[in-house]
């Protein structure tokens, strides 16, 4: 018996077909499509009022507050960011790359009746001016499930860990 299977015998892994997990995956996919369509107003509505959206630099830290991040957005900053992406003043957003992202390799981290923490992989291709950039990242979503059904499910925390977060990446006119 390998170590991995021994561990599995102790803690039964949660299946992605678990109804709560399936709801979280549906939300993550809806979110991904809204971002690819640059529908930032509806994207922001997917977050809880206390929700955090983080793109860290340091791959090892969870103390985002005390470290420099690429993005560290609470509701106020997200609102400002959506304004920036949509108001038409930001030349990077006006002429943004078109993106297509695939989110997969879902692994449920924890599941309760009210919350799912879900890890996944995101591969995003951004096309602009005859150039395709690859943005690969590990995602973690903390999804708060609504008692009223899937339409009320919200993202309480999204962390995007780029594989090259400590290297130089292009300046972006879109969101991860």
């Amino acid at each position: 018996m390998t170590e991995a299977t021994a561990a599995a015998a102790v803690a039964e892994p949660v299946s992605t077909t678990d109804p709560m997990v399936a709801r979280a995956i549906d939300l993550v996919w809806r979110e991904a499509e809204l971002l690819d369509r640059a529908d930032y107003v509806r994207w922001n509505e997917l977050f809880t009022g206390d929700g955090l959206y983080v793109v860290p630099i340091d791959p090892d830290t969870d103390d985002f507050e005390n470290t420099l991040n690429m993005v560290y957005d609470d509701a106020r900053m997200r609102e400002l960011r959506v304004g920036r992406m949509t108001e038409g003043y930001a030349i990077a957003a006006v002429d943004a790359a078109r993106t297509v992202r695939t989110v997969s390799r879902f692994v449920p981290d924890s599941v309760s009746g009210t919350e799912v923490v879900l890890r996944s992989a995101q591969v995003l291709i951004a096309y602009k001016r005859r150039r395709h950039d690859i943005w690969a990242a590990d995602l973690t979503h903390r999804v708060r499930l609504s008692a009223d059904g899937p339409a009320g499910d919200r993202i309480a925390r999204k962390v995007v860990r780029l594989v090259d977060s400590e290297d130089a990446v292009p300046a972006a006119g879109f969101l991860l």
Binding site: N66, M70, R84, D167, P170
Partner: protein, 425 residues
């Protein structure tokens, strides 16, 4: 208008208030810049806080050459080529850290923090062949001023203090944003753009672009911060040519010397909560001094060729290719007791708001630069204009050519230095 022929000498492509577009697009000019500029003058490599203790190191570049900067056990700073003397492998691939020395992964030649070759495995094959003391890592001259560490591949270049010249005064002033404490690096953003390094060099002394390119950022900040950066029609906001290619652009002249405070300026309302928190540990005067410096100093000091001390951060450029440049935006804050942590957290948030690949400022800058690189390919012999304000440029009491902050005095300063360094003679 086509003033430059294909065989115009590089130095003649710069004529005071205009330069040839070819300066951004010609690979031969880029190659010459790497030797005539980046391997011939002082290039910024680190802030001393990044090498705070003996045994700390940082990997970076001087021009295109990879280097390691270290602090040895005797507290001396060293800069060395990151290249084993045996077969050329890099001896360090970590961006920063602590070490006792560096061991090449290929044949395990090991070097001390000062670059001295310490050990060669199975040394019998080298008996009568090599002298270990002649095979230290190649060292670069390393000098620092005000915590800013520079290195050069040219052993005979003037002392750093002479090269910085009048910029030293502004380095001293810049560091006052520590509010009585030394400055430390808090973190850094890195991004790359498909454009020539000089487009970025110009940008830090380009007041003219600010309300246009950064309209989105201006719209997202509080009214007091937006007002602070409304320097377009302020006659007091001026740029000085400091010599040697260096210049300083004063956007907020009242914050040029943060020690000068008549007490009349109200602190920004956005910092009320932070002020209350700091007041538990610091006197009213200390809190005021720290909070007046939250946005840094009121100027951008542009040091030729690769570093700017820009308001509240360092901007470092690294040329990669004629049409590719990597930029670092290094966040800084006061290095003091843990009671300053709330203040440094706020400084991190301010930095994130503007800087970095997802900031509210940087991506718009990068888009502008990308467009310059693309447009300059259209007839690269046509001039790029850096003549704004040349007719209203005066000499200040200090002897510095001076014009309005939106004028291109700082760019002319940089290109004059470029011209001097790119001459054949």
């Amino acid at each position: 208008m086509n003033q430059y022929s294909d065989d115009t000498a590089p130095a003649d492509l710069v004529a005071g208030d205009h330069v040839a577009g070819r300066l951004y697009t010609d690979p031969d000019i880029f190659e010459r810049e790497m030797t005539a500029i980046f391997e011939s003058t002082w290039v910024w490599v680190a802030h001393e806080s990044e090498l705070a203790t003996p045994g700390s190191f940082k990997s970076t570049h001087v021009g295109r050459q990879p280097v390691i900067v270290t602090r040895d056990r005797k507290n001396n700073l060293h800069t060395m080529l990151n290249r084993c003397r045996h077969r050329g492998a890099s001896v360090c691939e970590k961006p920063q850290g602590r070490a006792n020395g560096f061991t090449c992964p290929y044949h395990a030649w090991s070097y001390g923090l000062d670059g001295t070759l310490r050990g060669i495995p199975y040394p019998d094959g080298y008996e009568g062949v090599v002298e270990k003391r002649e095979l230290s890592l190649r060292k670069l001259r390393t000098e620092s001023y005000g915590g800013m560490v520079f290195a050069t591949l040219d052993e005979d270049v003037e002392p750093l203090a002479d090269f910085l010249g009048d910029a030293k005064l502004w380095i001293d002033r810049f560091m006052k944003q520590g509010g009585g404490y030394p400055i430390k690096v808090l973190g850094k953003h890195q991004f790359r753009f498909k454009g020539n390094w000089k487009i970025q060099l110009e940008n830090t002394t380009d007041g003219y672009h600010f309300p246009i390119v950064h309209r989105s950022w201006m719209a997202s900040v509080d009214a007091e911060t937006a007002d602070m950066m409304s320097f377009m029609t302020d006659p007091e906001a001026i740029t000085h040519d400091l010599g040697h290619g260096h210049s300083v652009m004063q956007m907020v002249p009242g914050h040029a010397d943060l020690d000068v405070d008549d007490g009349s300026e109200p602190l920004q309302g956005r910092f009320d909560e932070l002020a209350a928190e700091l007041a538990k540990s610091f006197s009213d005067a200390e809190v005021r001094r720290l909070l007046r410096a939250m946005h840094g100093t009121g100027f951008n000091l542009n040091l030729f060729p690769n570093v700017a001390m820009s308001s509240a951060f360092f901007r470092v450029l690294r040329p990669v290719a004629v049409d590719e440049t990597v930029i670092e935006h290094i966040a800084i804050g006061p290095d003091g007791p843990s009671e300053l942590d709330p203040l440094n957290r706020e400084r991190l948030r301010i930095h994130e708001h503007f800087q970095g690949p997802f900031g509210f400022g940087t991506p718009d800058d990068a888009e502008g630069w990308d467009r310059v690189q693309r447009g300059a390919r259209a007839e690269p012999a046509m001039p790029i204009l850096v003549n704004r304000g040349s007719a209203r440029e005066k000499t200040s009491a200090e002897g510095w050519p001076t014009s309005h902050v939106t004028d291109e005095t700082g760019m002319r300063a940089a290109y004059n230095q470029w011209k001097r360094m790119m001459r054949d003679d």
